[in-house]
Amino acid sequence: MISDKLKQIILKELNLEEFEIKDETQANEVPGWDSLKHLNIILAIEKSYNIKFKGMEIMKIQNIGSLQKLIDSKN
């Protein structure tokens, strides 16, 4: 399940009003989510959850479900 907190961070960084975000949603399906925005989203998540990702973890995120799992594993 994608938490509302994560969804709001993503929408805010992408300047989107609303977008359906599911476990299997991938970055390239979401408007504006390019490699630059990807890192901005990572930074925003790190700040908001007070966690730190490893370089490899950032590169290996498959979809939003795996991003959520990664966050949960660090909390």
């Binding site: 490699s35 630059l36 890192l39 901005n40 930074l43 370089g55 950032i58």
Partner: protein, 568 residues
Amino acid sequence: MKIAFLSNYTPDFLVNALKNKLSVEKIAFDFYTSGFDQYAQEILNNDSKLYSFNPEIVFFSIDLNVYCKDLFEKLYQKNSSDLLNEIEQRVNNLFELVSLLNSKLITATLLIDNFFLDPVHNQKTLEYNSSYGTEIVLLKTNLQLAEFIQGKERLRIVDILSTVNNYGKLNLFDDRFFYIAKNKWSSDGVDKISDLYLNHLKVIKGIRKKCIVLDLDNTLWGGVIGQDGIENILLSNDGLGKSFYDFQVELLKLFRQGIILAICSKNSEEVALEAIKNHPYMILKPEHFAATRINWENKAQNIRQIAEELNIGIDSLVFLDDSPFERGLIKQELPEVTVPDLPDDPVYYPRFLKELNYFNVHRLTDDDFNRNSSYQANKERKSLESSFTDITSFLKSLEMEVTIKEIDDFSFPRAVQLIQKTNQFNVTTRRYSESEMKSFYNDSLYSVLELSVRDKFGDYGLVGIAIVVEQKNHSEMYIDSFIMSCRVIGRNVETALLSYINDIALNKNLKSIRGEIIPTAKNAPSQDLYKRHGFNELGDGFWSLNLEEKHLDCPDYIKMNQNLILNQ
């Protein structure tokens, strides 16, 4: 502002942050970012997108660690002096590119990053001690850059190194993003570096506050003078009292750079002035304050009066007060005033003041150095003025002298400053950039005239600019801009400048002078300029003076020195 960004790393993080900051500051911009590591091609190719974009400002941001990566990798195989020789060569190649860019964009300002080192030292004890250090290489390379820009008017250095030193490499760099995205800045780094870039752009825009309005109790000294007395306030050259002393030293440095100081304090005036005059560790003395309001009235009212007395816009004031109540009041009543929050702990006051970015410049002009003595002279003029009943005899008693000539390289920076900053006596408020001004300066149909004024109390320096254009097909001289510093309003020196324009027009056999008034919220003092001087109204804000019917004379109480273009 048309801004180009050239770099040898992924610039998007920095550029995006800078764009956001410009929007917050309400500065309009148009950005061009070169493709990844494409800066050399962009500069070498005459048909590049960079040149068709035709920027006014170019950031040239080369990360030396990336640019000389292969050389740094050879460290300990090569010693510092071999490394330095090779880096020097490379950096010279870079300077050739900058020179080429400079010759192709003949009016743009180039902002060049200086160099910093990655935290590469695997030997923290070896630097400067052995012949294999890198810090010494960095120092010399930055010196090479400083020497390269010497005397090149449109080249400026962005001192990235100091920002990196102040905030620390370990905070500003994020190795993950360097390996993933070829951007080495962390989010904190992006924030600090884009702030620095923003400050440079504000300097180019001429955005600078003019005056600091200061509270006294717990701001210039610790404690309350009215209760504690002069011998008990916290102000000394030792211990905690030294933080107030150092704060005053920093204020005095700003004063020397032409920032005006004023006092707004709730106190008994006599008691407060006594402390300012006689406290042994008071760095700021009565003569450093151009205006003082020490009373029990509402501070918003007092600050309004200070702006009026100094004849400067209320939006050019910065208010420093330890009391959150007073700050809140001013924020609410006078939203144009800048009101930063002083730190809770006075030990941070000196650093806080150094970190304020309201007073930045690239260069200090003579006018900056002289400004405060001229406010002092103004106080003396005011007391003389009150002893006269009619204005003409007062003006006579001032023994005014004006000098009018075309601007030159020496007066150019001040002329640009006046064009960009003057609000009140400015008939058309056309804000020309440095590069536009340069193009007038080089155009034979344009004359950019400067007016300097002095009187028996002192030198006002360069206080007026007129941009006039000869329009041959209409046989007229058109006054595109006519600007005077508020410091000389009410002295009739504008008449001297108009009379001079009259003479140039006659000398060129022109038949009339045409002026234009574009009203703004702030330029009321200049809106009757042409009417007062007998111009005829043409409608749509235009006014004309027929030179066959009328000649404007310089008032007889103003001595005019003209080392003239008329004779050329």
